[in-house]
Symmetry: C2
Subunit: 315 residues, 2 copies
């Protein structure tokens, strides 16, 4: 059986007035309304919510809240946290529940409410994702990524020019997304002169502190709900050591490769079959590393895909 | 197939020096060592960790840390949060994964590290479990429970005497548990004169701010690992509205009844077959309500079980 995504809901991303419960509700309501052929809450067996860290949302009953908003007393809800892959992990669990016959329809909701706090507190909360050993030395997320990026840049042919081009590409793509936090035409000069955050990471290389929520409805019987489901042909999950120096090669995202290989295998596909890729982009310079891990470029050649325009929207 | 618990691990509960990662490791190591016939990490497919709220643990990569401590690269880990039922929810998900053939063996680890903070901050963090509506009015967990308990005490025949007897019973039971936070012989006078926290809740009616971790190993093939597994014959999950006034009868724990009914049904058992009960005891006066929800007593007659000694260790 191939699980299908039959609907989605979305709030805007940005500095929002709504708090966590309202964001969850808005994303859920949208998703339920968007079901082409309609659905009753009674048909949904489980709601899985996810976020990076409750420290942001200040609300730890979000599974129960989502259950309330769904309106099916026989369903149940819970929350999954797996740092930056929380949303994917929630979808993975929902997909497995359906594939194994535990549920017919699962609603998955991801949310973040970060803009209650100043940058200092947000940075502090994000260090909760670091290894305990690194935290002892006071390292922050931009600091940890900066060290990784320096190592990668020393080893391979990648420049500040490439990073600027990636930032520009991503900001351009955002114009096609009405819910994006920024709709901003940025220049190469603008990126390369933007404020230094943690050398060599500049402001325009950083993902932003943002509020928002999104949801998808997974189904065992997708055609019942829409004529155009998106089938999940393959997924994979893998980990690597939190402490970068324990990794085989810190400049290669081995866990992303292992997860991607699982997904390719399950789907019976290879990197050559891929038309659209969305990668985790906490910091722009990591994007070429992601291309390499996904098998789209050889080791150290991720930036080539940017230079050759392969990863551009019409590339 | 009936999933079995084949091993467990435990830290002491109390004001501990160890931080979250060490607590998780200790509970996991103990569980793996306690497997009577031995087990290799390669045989464990998934580690599920759980806690009430990351605000306490200040560590949101605990799923990955548990994966590291396990030592099986092909396994995966994630964290579940469902407020006070986080641990049970993690076991429920692990049991389902095994029953549906997604995993053979799942390690479940629960942890809390609360004693980094003073009582004020802990109380603040615990309000994150309240409904958004109640939080607006500044209500705390003891405050919310106090209102509920007052309502119950007005409606039914339950007294401060009963609550004291429950506290005394629970403290007595703790002497049989080498890992318990307190080993303290308390008197009726001591309970009834202890400091008022939120009328009618007194200090000795409150569960304490504690650090600790525990783990269980669930298996599809329990006899392979021990001759004396504990079989999970039935489990249930249900929710009720966070806002007490939206509930059918705030003095009756309908969600506990619905979850218990599911478990009884799955196990083919009834309340009469139950020998040992462990209930959620955030505040002592809630214990009689739990008895009623589990079908062990009629509505309003939970306290009778204490008076008649039925719920005493040798009752």
């Amino acid at each position: 059986m191939v699980v299908g995504i039959v609907s989605y809901g979305h709030t805007k991303f940005g500095v929002l007035k709504q708090d966590t419960p309202d964001l969850i509700k808005e994303a859920m309501d949208g998703c339920l309304k968007n079901v082409e052929k309609g659905i009753s809450p009674k048909e949904i067996d489980c709601v899985i919510v996810s976020c990076v860290d409750n420290a942001f949302s200040e609300q730890h009953q979000t599974g129960t809240l989502a259950w309330e908003y769904l309106g099916n007393p026989d369903a149940y809800g819970f929350k999954v946290e797996s740092a930056c892959v929380s949303g994917s992990m929630a979808i993975y669990l929902g997909k497995n529940m359906i594939e194994r016959g535990e549920a017919k329809n699962v609603l998955v909701v991801g949310f973040e409410k970060m803009n209650k706090f100043g940058t200092d507190r947000v940075t502090e909360f994000l260090t909760h994702g670091s290894s305990p050993e690194e935290r002892k030395y006071g390292i922050t997320q931009p600091g940890a990524y900066a060290l990784l990026i320096r190592l990668y840049a020393q080893k391979y042919d990648v420049t500040e020019d490439d990073w600027a081009d990636i930032s520009i590409k991503n900001h351009k793509n955002a114009f096609r997304n009405p819910w994006a936090h920024f709709h901003k035409d940025i220049t190469k000069e603008g990126v390369m002169n933007s404020r230094m955050i943690a050398d060599p990471i500049r402001l325009f290389h950083c993902s932003t502190i943002s509020d928002g929520a999104a949801s998808v409805l997974l189904s065992a019987d997708p055609k019942k709900y829409t004529d155009t489901p998106v089938f999940i042909k393959g997924m994979g999950v893998a980990h690597d050591y939190l402490l970068a120096i324990e990794r085989e090669d810190p400049t290669f995202l081995l866990c992303s490769k292992r997860a991607a290989d699982q997904a390719y295998k399950e789907a019976g596909r290879s990197p050559k079959d891929v038309d659209i890729v969305e990668v985790h982009d906490a910091f722009t310079p990591v994007e070429p590393m992601c291309y390499e891990a996904l098998g789209l470029a050889k080791k150290g050649e991720g930036a080539k895909l940017v230079r050759e325009g392969v990863v551009m929207f019409d590339g």
